[in-house]
Symmetry: C2
Subunit: 323 residues, 2 copies
């Protein structure tokens, strides 16, 4: 497979050696990029020509169900191919990094599905999205730990010799309280408790009612169950952060608890893989990804998480990959 | 409307004055009884001839969605009518006590729906199931507090002059941690945390894996999201109680936390309604209903809840209605 000729459009050139689809499937959104399978020209090593990029919604089967997740994945891949002026016959490889792929049986079902979608000799790779997130921060080298905290949360680590471990990433039923969903659900619970007399008053009541354009906390129950999407709940995180930044005690407690949960998930992975060496002091990369860990005005969640982790493992080297 | 003649079958007699349907709709199951609208004969005051009884699954709209809940309610009512050898034209009144009916708008939608189902002059009553549960323990008098803890949980109270208040009953997203769902979800979380290194080892791992016939905690994630029914999760409560009775520390902590949550919901309602009098020492009835509060071998959840409440309000008079 040669590089494409000077003057050709990337899309036309892609037809020659076929295309590769890379999919990053999250609980909030799913992104697919279409790349030429041909190597980049020798005069531009390291550069990758992205032929097209498509975006869709949630592809976490645990949040929206398997059928909806697979529909979203198919839709986003087909859209990327169309935008690149090509079609599924040109696909030589598909790399799916999808949240909610936890067990080997999840992986196998997705492989079976994608084989049917692209009949022929294409190659397929299916992983949890944490693998792609780790690679995105370590220049492709799979070593170290990644913490994702978006709508969902997971800590995932890989050793130099390929051992892997994960913690959390089990969704809201199974206690991912450091995730965006977890933070927002705690805030909604705090509003209900303040309203029915079980908990202290909090500005979250005023702020969440305003954000959701409802008239009373009584309406929260109907709102919460009208749509089971995890991302819809998690979208309230900025309200919680902003209330905490303005000094609300309840909101601050919720964020501190989330920091603790996130730090514990990283510590569990690092400990199980001995990423920090036998004396616990070796350096190791920690890639931080996801909306919850992005910088806020004053309340720096990822900074607090790193502070907690470094008390246990001082060799932690945080990396925030550019997207 | 007279009583029915001696020697008539109850079903045939029911045709004369019409029938009443009473529905108790829960998150685990829904029961409908069909009663004659005619008064009982004077020689047997207080006796009620139940013409038929039908049972179906969950009718909590917040758990299974509005359409599925209404389908279940229609199905259970039609089955009760058929079994009583009658049909919807004989219905003169329907009393629906259904969990998940929280806001006046929920009530109105259900009233609109049932009016369409029984066109004519029938009368309709729609309430949260806590109202029926309270009446079942106080011989029909609506005064005092009721605590329901089955798949879901709610505390609901009424004063002598008709003021009402409730606490909890907001479902799993909004923090009903004392419910059967809440207890079981905490147990599942404890298994995941023990497995990925975030929490202490617990016998719940062995017990829940055995109960669900899976081979490893990794499979719990797939299991948890394969079906969104709250009742399916809550069905694990007996495993948690049994582990706690056998001395498992993690299971004991989960039950103690649930006791605290349940007691706090009752205390909040009693305080808001001043059911305990101005000095906090008046007697008031507390009706206890639901699978979580039924007697276990050694770990008596309702006993512990009463102990907690009586520390704050010594006048609490527990009532466990016969079903």
């Amino acid at each position: 497979m040669g590089g494409y000729e000077n003057g050709d459009s990337p899309a036309a050139a892609a037809w020659e050696g076929g295309v590769i689809l890379g999919v990053d499937g999250g609980t909030t959104s799913t992104v697919c990029v279409c790349l030429p399978a041909a190597m980049p020209p020798p005069e531009a090593p390291g550069s990758v020509a992205v032929l097209s990029r498509a975006i869709a919604g949630c592809s976490n089967r645990n949040s929206v169900g398997e059928n909806a997740a697979l529909e979203t994945l198919e839709q986003v891949m087909m859209q990327a191919l169309t935008t690149a002026n090509t079609d599924r016959s040109a696909v030589v490889a598909v790399c799916l990094s999808v949240s909610g792929v936890n067990h080997p049986s999840d992986q196998q079902r997705m492989l079976d599905w994608i084989c049917n979608l692209f009949p022929g000799n294409a190659k397929f790779y299916v992983e949890n999205d944490a693998v792609a997130a780790l690679a995105s921060g370590t220049m492709g080298k799979l070593h170290g730990c990644v913490l994702i905290a978006g709508t969902g949360s997971i800590a995932y680590g890989v050793t130099e010799d390929g051992k892997v471990a994960r913690a959390a990433g089990a969704g809201p039923v199974l206690g991912d309280w450091g995730s965006g969903y977890g933070i927002a659900a705690q805030a909604l619970t705090a509003v209900i408790k303040a309203h029915d007399g079980r908990g202290p008053q909090t500005n979250l009541t005023r702020d969440i009612i305003r954000k959701l354009e409802i008239s009373s906390p009584d309406e929260l129950i109907g709102w919460a169950y009208a749509d089971p999407s995890w991302a819809r709940i998690a979208a309230l995180v900025p309200v919680v952060v902003s209330a905490a930044e303005d000094g609300d005690k309840v909101a601050n407690t919720i964020l501190h608890d989330a920091v603790q949960e996130l730090a514990e998930s990283v510590v569990a992975v690092v400990r199980r893989l001995t990423l920090c060496g036998e004396d616990g002091k070796d350096q190791f990369p920690l890639v931080l990804v996801g909306g919850v860990l992005e910088g806020n005005k004053k309340w720096d969640i990822s900074g607090e998480v790193i502070k907690c982790i470094s008390k246990v493992f001082p060799g932690v080297c945080p990396i925030r990959p550019e997207l």
